[in-house]
Amino acid sequence: MAGKQSRLRLAQRARRGMLVRGVGCAIALTLAAAALPVRAQGGAAQEPVDLSGSWVPYFNNNVLEVLEGPFTDDWTGMPLSAAGRALAQSYSASMYAEPERVCQLYGQWKYMTAPFSMRIWPVVRGSTDDIVAWRLQKTEDQGGMTIWMDGRPPPSKYLDYPRGAFTTGYWKGNTLIAHTIHMKMAPARNNGGFYSDQATLTSTFIAHGDSLITVFVLHDPVYFTQPFVYSRAWSRSARPASTTWPPCIVNYEGIEEGVVPFFLPGKDPLLDQMMQLFHVPVYASEGGADTMYPAFRDKLKAQYLKLYPTFPKNCTQYCTTFRSGRPAANLPQPVGRAAGKSGRRKAPSGP
């Protein structure tokens, strides 16, 4: 009898065990089934938009800067602080030949303003090809931008980070928003309008089918008094964008060690280009936050309209950036003197 009861208990235990295992198995299967769609959506499918591909900028916006390079004294629309203005006015393009500054030209801001196409691709990891980052590259010497999507913490603020800086991002609908820190000092305009290594950058990537709109907002407590905003439109290209330019390598470029090319603020002989070419007075060309807003036109109106009849009847310099409908730079101008542009004139050297 005892043996029978014992066998019965064992059998009951076995049934309970089976039931428990059955329930556990069912839960596991159910959870696995529920997890299947998630796994199936792993990798790129989890992203609301596939940004990968090659993107070509439109050459209608800001052409004087993008195609020709900015004029020596054109800081219009830049919210420069007094320090930023002083730095800009002492700028000499020869400074980039200093070994310490050979690569300084290439910062994150170049993604917006340089005329090159841009390639974007996902960085995937794991068996489900989860996208941990988006990688942007225009040319190798620009250091690239990696937008980490995996929530990793920022590196220590004391770390000397590479020129590519540190960027994290997240999606809001179809919009990718990225924050960049650990930036190095670099030009926001290629005529001495710098941002400092205290600057941070918010980049927004908005996809509309085969169009991409990028918005950069640069915050710099040192050289700017207000955020500096820049936007640009791109179209998707079937032709892969070349990113195989040689990387920036520090080399001897003609400036001896210890020599620092510069102008004393206001002493660059080309600081009158904006007036000569566009009748834009110094108080406008030297920039400042007020030059970004419509009300600034009131300051300009009387003087500008008075000078307007003195323009040549037909434009003579920097009048077009298209040749037979295709964007082009440095087109021959009809007549008139060829004004020097920033970076094309030797600067005096100081100790």
Binding site: A26, P48, N60, F278, M292, L305
Partner: protein
């Protein structure tokens, strides 16, 4: 009895869990229209564009926007020879005398003018945009009217609007809750005018397609980025694409209506 309950639980549990899972997915698709009319454009707006906005002319084409561009300067515009001819004949005094001083305030150019915008809902299906510069009014019709669309040509033409809704999540899964969006506007029926104040022309065959993308900064500043694609088979080799940034204002401060000017 207990056995039956346990077995039932074993059978029902997966169904319950699957039901819960699928129920979540259905819910994530957002509210369904239960046979009723679709929500109005105003009710369906994924973002609020209403209010006052101010042009932010940072580095982009300052000398073509903040001042009247030089005569004959069309840098950045893919202008055909026919367009260059028209531009070279620019005569602001003649335009003013002909009452056509608003030629540089038409829809293909107006977002490029340094200005303030005032955006309101005219009705549930029509968004209204007014500018202080040139005192222009644009109407964005979410329910287009065929009769109105082919009325007389005007500086602002006829604009058809639609929301581009952006959901949470993406890929092949079910669409989530709408979290963001943009406005897409297409405009035609335009009167011929100028892309720039110095007479760079566009013809009446011009079409404008625009995206209105709000961008929210972390510090609370609101930006509106208006990307404009202007196509004109008569005077342009290809699209003239510009981005125009506007800063959200908390009030009407700075709103100063001014009449069209052919010269400034």
């Amino acid at each position: 009895m207990r056995k039956i309950m346990v077995i039932s639980t074993v059978r029902i549990l997966p169904i319950l869990l699957v039901s819960l899972a699928s129920g979540t997915a259905v819910h994530a698709q957002g509210p369904r229209a239960a046979g009723g009319p679709p929500p109005s454009a105003k009710a369906a707006a994924p973002v609020d564009l209403t209010g006052y906005w101010e042009s932010l002319v940072t580095t982009e084409d300052w000398v073509y926007r903040m001042v009247t561009p030089r005569p004959g300067d069309y840098a950045g515009v893919p202008l055909k020879p026919a367009g260059i001819q028209v531009m070279d004949a620019w005569n602001p005094a003649k335009d003013t005398a002909a009452g056509e001083q608003c030629k540089s305030y038409g829809a293909p150019a107006i977002m490029r003018v340094p200005e303030h915008l005032h955006i309101t809902w005219q009705d549930d299906q029509t968004l209204k945009m007014q500018t202080d510069a040139g005192e222009q009014t644009r109407l964005f019709h979410f329910v287009p009217s065929m009769a109105a669309a082919h009325g007389p040509r005007t500086w602002q033409g006829y604009s058809v609007a639609q929301w581009e809704l952006q959901s949470q999540g993406g890929g092949r899964g079910p669409p989530g809750k709408v979290v963001w969006g943009a406005l897409k506007v297409t405009t035609d029926d335009l009167k011929a005018g100028y892309l720039r104040k110095n007479g760079v022309p566009y013809s009446e065959k011009t079409q404008v397609m625009e995206y209105y993308d709000p961008v929210q900064e972390d510090d609370g500043d609101g930006l509106l980025v208006v990307t404009s694609f202007v196509t004109d088979p008569v005077y342009l080799f290809g699209p003239f694409v510009t981005d125009n940034n506007f800063l959200k204002l908390s009030s009407a401060a700075g709103w100063e209506p001014s009449a069209c000017s052919a010269m400034w």
